[in-house]
Amino acid sequence: AQTVTQSQPEMSVQEAETVTLSCTYDTSENNYYLFWYKQPPSRQMILVIRQEAYKQQNATENRFSVNFQKAAKSFSLKISDSQLGDTAMYFCAFRIGGGSEKLVFGKGMKLTVNP
């Protein structure tokens, strides 16, 4: 069974600083996808970034980037130039490739950006 672990339940950062959220996962599969979702106080689940395991290049989306270490089974999210609107719960998630569409989520971590 696949598992996703987010070991830091809570973090805070000052506005404009950079913060890194950690995530590790466990799988014996070789073809899979990793995701970071953001859940602001509105509770809407919003996709932040996606990484395909077969791609060696780390995904980036504007201020968000990942550090994907396949051998170490690590998938951290870096937020640059943190903004107040980044305050949210962040969930790391995993999905096997090849037609299994089920997402396995970590327990989430709460990020607070302070002015």
């Binding site: 979702y37 809407q44 689940m45 037609g99 569409e101 089920k102 997402l103 989520f105 327990k107 989430g108």
Partner: protein, 111 residues
């Protein structure tokens, strides 16, 4: 374009009552999912559907029933609600091998 919607957004019910949570998507996505979110557990998959009339269990299916007679709808029924089913329920949809998009959630309180 409404995307994916859930109704009701908030629901209070009593133990033993039947409750149905609705999910509707306008993208014609083949896959639809139901998750529950509880403090300390993240999101856990209840049921999912790969197409109309095809459903399968997720991680926590006990006490829930689903159906999918139309591609765009995926209702979740609690046949006899229990307090342990108090939670926030999220519906999601996707195309094959693509990103899942989530509805706004339904907050359910079982008294």
């Amino acid at each position: 374009d409404a995307g994916i919607t859930q109704s009701p957004r908030y629901k209070i019910t009593e133990t033993g009552r039947q409750v149905t949570l609705m999910c509707h998507q306008t993208w014609s996505h083949s896959y639809m999912f139901w998750y529950r979110q509880d403090l300390g557990h993240g999101l856990r998959l209840i049921y999912y559907s790969a197409a109309a009339d095809i459903t399968d269990k997720g991680e926590v299916p006990d006490g829930y029933v689903v159906s999918r007679s139309k591609t765009e709808n995926f209702p979740l029924t609690l046949e006899s609600a229990t307090r342990s089913q108090t939670s926030v329920y999220f519906c999601a949809s996707s195309r094959l091998a693509e990103t899942q998009y989530f509805g706004p959630g339904t907050r359910l309180l079982v008294l």
